[in-house]
């Protein structure tokens, strides 16, 4: 790869999000990740190719150390089987989480709140008659409970990055203690892990060590902290933010030509 930077007009926000996510995964080279469906599959495929070749990929439909030669279309795509060490089913794909073996989980979602709780179940209206019904938990609840850290990928929009999720699918730092539903810190329920990083279409957010509230860590080239404030549903702290290193021409080229040549994931 050459170090030539791409112009902002040469890629889409979705592509930026995926490229920065792939870069972030360099932190997990040699580590074990459980990868959720959607854009996380794309970013992982890109990362494995250029930034973290020794990342060990688990998928919730039961592949261990998956090495897909080409991008999977979904979470049970045949492409995930060929070249893997072991192919069982969904339960065996998830047990590495409950056995506390998974270093990082990587998920998408429809809504994230300032505590890093993620919603992929429904938005608006009532549970029994939602405005917008979503995919449901899939492995997102399990990743959020058991992975040592969780990376979240989602478009940055005001209604998506909010004060508190409409439905708490994936537990973040402040969760609900039942039967009352009292908000408590996750440690209080004996849960380890927690969200480490939220990579959006505008920047990278992390969570304060103390109060566990989301803050802006990096904003992407062409985006200002003010843009992000305007597109966030709560008063996000942007005081610690710096600009992210620009995207490389080669990153976009590989993403378009090698990873998703058919634009299956509609990133462009």
């Amino acid at each position: 790869m050459t170090q030539q930077y791409a112009k902002i007009s040469e890629y889409t926000p979705a592509e930026a999000m995926v490229v920065y996510a792939a870069r972030f995964l360099a932190n997990f080279d040699g580590k074990k990740g459980l990868i959720g469906t959607g854009l996380p599959l794309v970013a992982t495929q890109l990362a494995k190719m250029i930034y973290s070749p020794n990342m060990v990929i688990f998928v919730e439909t039961g592949q261990a150390d998956a090495n897909p030669k080409e991008l999977a279309i979904s979470i049970m795509d045949s492409r995930l089987t060929y070249g893997s060490s072991w192919q069982m089913g969904d339960p065996e794909g998830l047990y590495p989480l409950s056995r506390n073996e998974i270093d990082f989980g990587f998920i998408g979602g429809a809504q994230i709140d300032k505590y890093g709780n993620v919603n992929s179940t429904f938005i608006g209206g009532d549970y029994n008659k939602p405005l917008k019904r979503l995919a449901g938990t899939a492995g997102a609840v399990d990743i959020g409970v058991f992975a040592k850290t969780t990376v979240i990928l989602m478009a940055h929009q005001k209604r998506r990055v909010c004060e508190f999720v409409d439905y708490l699918t994936t537990p973040g730092w402040m969760v609900k203690k039942w039967p009352e539903g009292t908000l408590v810190r996750r440690e209080e329920l004996g849960m380890r892990g927690g969200p480490g990083c939220f990579i959006s279409s505008m920047g990278i957010c992390k969570f304060d060590e103390g109060d566990k509230i989301m803050y802006l860590d990096r904003y992407f080239p062409g985006i200002t902290p003010e843009d992000i404030k305007a597109n966030t549903g709560f008063d996000i702290d942007v005081s610690r933010a710096t600009e992210a290193d620009p995207i490389l021409v080669d990153e976009i080229r590989i993403l378009r030509e090698e990873i998703d040549p058919l634009n299956i994931y509609k990133m462009r």
């Binding site: 039961g62 049970m76 045949s78 995930l80 060929y82 089913g89 019904r133 492995g139 409970v145 609900k176």
Partner: protein, 321 residues
């Protein structure tokens, strides 16, 4: 003893109100032909377990499903499963969301013959929210009430390893499990390639198990390697040969997805009229599965055939474009 029957005969054994698990997941190894036959036979009030993607969503569109308990209502890259989405948003289907490990552990309990298993699976989340607990509504519509537990979960302190509060997860019981697989022996022994999804749990514990297979082979052949088999003949009640039985989904080592068909389904079914029109063409407009295949056409199917050793159609070598 041969268990081979026709698809029509097999599906006649599915009763209104049955709790039902389909094998496979998303658009892989889904028993789509079986789902279409269920709609054709106009079954009612089924309780769908596990996930609602390609095959399940056809049932929902066809008006066969009263309730759904599971963890995934999406057709993957092709969007939220359109029929259940529409029914959910109009409040005309009962949904009881649980987690993916919940489904796994509930079916594990079924397979192992145990009543419940403890885990921290959904601690802290709205899965445990009593306001969203629709289990009793699901039980109301189920034909066989014994299939559903008295409670969705119980919280207790772990007495063994000081893990704090854990959730007791009851077994997921099944009247019927329908799996589509690559190969079955005529006595019912099943061999699966690629992800087993939940098939190897569900089929072992369901009261009635229907297997549709790309190929039925002599039982003596499939028994040459017992270690390679995934469901024993002793757990299977009926076997049906249904080539391309998961179309438009994929079957590892046999064929890949029919992407235009999946996209057309996603686009058509955002309205009930759209689904009904789709169903007129692909369900009621076909006398049976052979008719469906002829309507698709042999040349279209040939392009989907998996390439060894990959088990799918590599993008750079023709096939889906």
């Amino acid at each position: 003893m041969s268990k081979v029957v026709s698809l029509q005969e097999a599906i006649q054994e599915v009763k209104d109100g049955d709790t039902l698990l389909f094998g496979g997941i998303v658009e892989d190894r889904r028993p789509v032909a079986a789902a279409i036959e269920i709609v054709r036979q106009r079954k009612k009030n089924l309780v769908l377990l596990g996930t609602c993607s390609q095959s399940g969503d056809i049932l929902v569109g066809g008006g066969c499903v009263a309730a759904y308990r599971g963890c995934y209502t999406s057709n993957g890259a092709f969007g939220i499963s359109p029929n259940i989405k529409r029914r959910a948003e109009s409040g005309t289907i009962i949904i009881d969301d649980i987690g993916h490990l919940d489904v796994s552990i509930g079916l594990l309990a079924l397979q192992a013959g145990v009543p419940f298993i403890a885990s921290k699976t959904c601690i802290g989340t709205d899965i445990l929210n009593p306001a969203y607990d629709n289990l009793s509504k699901v039980a109301e519509v189920a034909g066989n009430k014994e299939m559903l537990p008295n409670k969705k979960y119980v919280l207790m302190e772990d007495p063994f390893f000081d893990m704090g509060t854990v959730q007791l997860i009851p077994a997921i019981k099944l009247d019927v499990c329908i799996c589509h697989v690559q190969m079955a022996g005529e006595e019912g022994t099943v061999r699966i390639d690629g992800s087993l999804a939940f098939d190897h749990y569900g089929a072992l514990g369901a009261n009635k198990v229907i297997v549709t297979a790309e190929r039925i082979v002599p039982e003596s052949y499939i028994r040459q390697e017992p270690n390679r088999n995934c469901i024993p003949c002793t757990s299977v009640d009926m076997v049906v040969e249904v080539p391309w039985g998961a179309h438009p989904g994929q079957v590892y080592n046999y064929y890949d997805m029919d992407i235009p068909f999946l996209q057309e389904y996603a686009n058509s079914c955002s309205s009930q009229e759209g689904f009904d029109k789709w169903a007129d063409t692909w369900i009621f407009g076909c006398k049976g599965h052979e008719d469906y295949l002829d309507k698709l056409g042999a040349s279209r199917l040939e392009k989907l055939r998996a390439l060894p050793p990959y088990g799918y159609v590599p993008r750079r070598k023709g096939g889906v474009k």
